[in-house]
């Protein structure tokens, strides 16, 4: 009896529990939460290096009235949509391939990871060289096979720059998606496959009617997570095009950064950041409600 109460005391020292969390919590409050509120406050000012005055909703009114900003919002979502879609499709195919029982698959799995591990900024220098219109390998293959008549700067034209930045973003994001899908596929109970095999289901049928439904929760989770990451993607576009040519790759994050630290117009930048925060919060709310729905469904089964 004495032992039991003593143990309860050991596991339920609320004060100690909070004390242990406090340093991390305070740090995050200072570096993430406080700046978040400060961003919202600044969005109602004309803050710059010179100082700041309260200007009400002027920043927002100006921003929402400009067609340029509306175009940026639409562009951001188009960019994100294609990038996330490609990541999911390539990730799913990649995971299915790596999940097959082939010799060398352990090595293949390791080879998928490098883009995920290295600094994006360095990986993009490699892509900058690949996209080079005169000397890069992509333009080279194009010219040798006759698809291109001459040198072609992939990052110099509006449409090709847009597509090129998407491809590089997919390159950065695919490894993580692939590995999460692979982990999910390996978690599918083996007896499901054995039962289907005994019933004469082909490999394709087993993938379609067992693997896919079983990993759907993970697919949804990854779709939202990579939507959040893609939405926040900064370095890829910044290094490849800085949002150009003529704004063709300027997404909301790039625009925010340019206004904020390119022109030192903190107020206007903050207004854009607030839009980012609102959209991210919507994503997160959607994500969490979806997650709890899935959990409930799994629990019911």
């Amino acid at each position: 009896m004495i032992k039991k109460t003593k143990l309860q005391a050991y596991n339920s020292s609320t004060f100690l529990a909070y004390a242990l969390i406090a340093p991390a919590a305070i740090y995050i409050l200072c570096i993430v939460a406080w700046p978040l509120f400060e961003t919202i406050r600044l969005s109602f000012t004309n803050s710059s290096l010179a100082g700041e005055d309260y200007v009400g909703t002027k920043n927002f009114a100006k921003m929402l009235a400009s067609t340029k900003f509306n175009k940026i919002i639409i562009r951001t979502f188009v960019w994100m949509f294609f990038s996330v879609l490609l990541k999911l499709i390539i990730g799913l195919i990649g995971a299915a391939l790596l999940n097959s029982h082939l010799r060398g698959r352990a090595a293949f799995r390791v080879l998928v990871m490098p883009p995920w591990v290295i600094p994006i900024a360095i990986g993009m220098l490699g892509w900058l060289w690949l996209y080079n219109g005169y000397f890069g390998i992509i333009a080279g293959i194009g010219m040798r096979t006759g698809i291109l008549d001459g040198p072609f700067g992939f990052l110099a034209y509006k449409q090709s720059a847009f597509i090129s930045t998407i491809i590089s973003d997919v390159w950065v994001g695919t490894p993580m998606v692939t590995l999460f899908f692979l982990a999910a596929m390996q978690g599918v109970p083996k007896d499901l496959y054995e039962a289907a095999y005994c019933d004469g289901a082909s490999k394709w049928a087993r993938f379609y009617s067992i693997t896919l439904p079983q990993i759907t929760p993970v697919i949804i989770t990854m779709a939202l997570l990579s939507a959040i990451f893609t939405f926040n993607s900064f370095e890829i576009i910044w290094i490849l095009t800085e949002g150009g040519p003529r704004g063709a790759t300027t997404t909301l994050i790039i625009d925010t950064y340019k206004q904020a630290l390119g022109n030192y117009k903190f107020g206007r930048g903050a207004a854009r950041a607030v839009v980012v925060v609102i959209l991210l919060t919507l994503f997160a709310a959607f994500y969490l409600s979806l997650l709890s729905q899935i959990n409930r469904k799994v629990a019911n089964e």
Partner: protein, 279 residues
């Protein structure tokens, strides 16, 4: 059940080859470019074959950018500081989440995940003003302080699951036998969680290494504090870009990180995916 016909095998290997080509092409091409003399790189159309490969760029790059060594050191120094600081904050917090029951525990854990949503660019303005007010701009601190905050949440989740794997009975038995909390921490928790600490530390190091660019270009203008991803831009000259040397320096900079990751990938990937897969 898992037997393939020859045709299926060939198809699978071909598909994997296409997939891996997409993933690895930039690295292969970076390496190939680093081996070729500059004037042979600048040939159009692209030459697939070159008979003049050498490691010359790997020695010349130190002369072109004399501070290259310093940049690489900065990168490792900054990432190490961030990783150590992250661990200091994360160890007690993760232990608390793993072992105690207290009000708002789950809420706090999910709130932590929400931090992951916000990236540096969104908060860059207040962070910039804050660092300026504290006169920390253009110092190492400017590139250490913000990074830690964004690595804490995932690190807590990772380490929490390692602590949870240590049987609580061990601690309870020791506690009942009269050991103090500190003694339990030193003699039971610390030795048993060393592998977990190593994995989380390396996760934080790699994460810190990866996120340096934004903080470097936003908060630092002093060349002597620049990390490698920002310093590599010095290979871009007024006349030409020394692509071969820039690629060589890039590869030298990422090689150690890649090697460490390859050796420990099993543990890191396992730790990161387990939460998502089992919810």
């Amino acid at each position: 059940m898992n037997k393939y016909t020859i045709f299926q095998k060939i198809l699978l290997y071909l598909s994997i080859a296409v997939f891996l080509t997409f993933i690895l092409l930039p690295f292969v091409e970076m390496f190939y470019a680093s081996l070729r003399p500059l004037k042979h790189l600048f040939r159009s159309p692209y030459q697939f074959y070159s008979n003049d490969l050498s490691f010359w760029a790997y020695s010349e790059m130190w002369n072109t950018v004399p501070r290259l060594g310093r940049y690489i050191f900065n990168s490792f120094f900054l990432a190490s500081c961030v990783a150590i600081l992250t661990l200091l904050f994360v160890i007690p917090a993760a232990y608390s989440f793993a072992r105690f029951n207290f009000p708002f525990k789950n809420g706090t854990l999910y709130l932590l995940l929400a931090v992951n949503m916000f990236s540096g660019p969104v908060l860059i303005i207040p962070l910039y003003k804050m660092l300026r007010a504290l006169s920390l701009l253009n110092t190492y601190y400017a590139m250490i302080v913000p990074g830690v905050a964004f690595l804490i949440p995932t690190s807590i989740w990772l380490l929490k699951s390692y602590f949870q794997k240590i049987p609580i009975e061990l601690e309870e038995a020791a506690f009942v036998d009269g050991a103090s909390r500190l003694q339990i921490l030193r003699h039971i928790i610390a030795p048993l969680s060393t592998p977990g600490l190593a994995v989380v530390g390396i996760y934080a190091f790699i994460g810190a290494y990866a996120q340096q660019f934004l903080y470097a270009i936003s908060f630092n203008q002093k060349k002597e504090f620049m990390p490698l991803p920002a310093g590599l831009y010095e290979f871009i000259g007024y006349q030409t870009v020394k692509w071969n040397e820039m690629m060589a320096a890039s590869l030298v900079g990422i090689a150690p990180v890649l090697l460490v990751f390859i050796f420990l990938q099993k543990y890191i990937v396992e730790g990161l995916t387990v939460g998502a897969v089992k919810n």
